[in-house]
Symmetry: C2
Subunit: 155 residues, 2 copies
DNA sequence: CGCCATTAGTTGGTTTGGCAACTAATATTG
DNA sequence: CAATATTAGTTGCCAAACCAACTAATGGCG
């Protein structure tokens, strides 16, 4: 008697719905981690991601940053300009192709990077310590598989 | 020789960083799924989530919706008003406590709900069919454990 | 060379999210 | 029962995301 039965009346249990749980989890984690650098360095998640890629791959173009991070190019453009103004990045125009420009962390940018990276790893570690090593690996593998699979789905 | 060694120079590998991968995966999945209802019904993800909770728990207050969905109350207030205007929801003020109001899906809202729910389940199914049954269960368990653990971390 | 397509990046306009201050109603407490 | 605190919900304001249109440069091809 919990439910009127007009036809079959399927109910969606949001709290058991995996895409929803994934979203809540992911947002929570992103916010937790960004709290560790956003107040000290006034960096948004997007800005930090840009710096992170440039720490890993110096001298790539905005377009390549976009490919690596999935950040949409207009968002990227504005974020990069903000970081340039703050002198955390520098941009060098390509003489051969004047559309392109290579980006890299400045000395200041690099010092921020060097400070944030270990904290990020510590946080990842702290998050994952609810898993055994085997579970960590499995979780990672499942995430990757699901991601690759999601890329193949229509939408 | 992969790494320059100024001091220790730790590098963050974004594409192996779990919080990042989780975020990319989750956004991709949310966008895939919302594509199935957003064009037909012009519902945002937030709006759909509100309708989903009200389909599961009719006659709860905005505040209770907020607790169940983690949607912040100002966002909720605006989304609810939009759904009220579209007559997908109706609101009934509580005579005993005139601050509170009970929300429920209208007949139209319910018909939208009944149309979207099966599609959502189908999509979840399609996503998870890259996993075996055991993997599905394990993934679900790991997500839950990680979430509960994340709730205990400072931030 | 001259035309069209493509690519890199920017800008405009709109939507969404999020914090904080606010209103109004109810609960608490001295 | 008056003063204060708490709760439900709204509003203002600003940051972040997104899409589409745009500029400018290069590439491809007749």
């Amino acid at each position: 008697m919990e439910q009127e039965d007009k036809t079959i009346a399927p109910v969606l249990q949001l709290e058991r719905y995996l895409p929803y749980r994934l979203s809540i989890l992911s947002n929570r984690i992103s916010n937790l981690i960004s709290a560790t650098y956003s107040s000290k360095f006034a960096l948004s998640i997007t800005e930090w991601r840009i710096m992170a890629v440039l720490g890993e791959y110096p001298d790539i173009s905005a377009d390549q940053v976009s490919n690596k991070t999935q950040i949409e190019k207009s968002i990227l453009s504005r974020a990069i300009n903000k970081l340039l103004q703050r002198q955390l990045l520098l941009r060098e125009f390509d003489a051969a192709d004047r559309r392109r420009s290579m980006l890299r962390l400045t000395a200041t940018g690099l010092s921020v990077y060097r400070e944030v990276v270990p904290v990020s790893y510590d946080y990842e570690e702290a998050l994952l310590n609810c898993f055994s090593d085997a579970e960590k690996e499995q979780f990672s593998e499942l995430i990757d598989r699901l991601y690759r699979h999601a890329l193949t789905l229509p939408g």
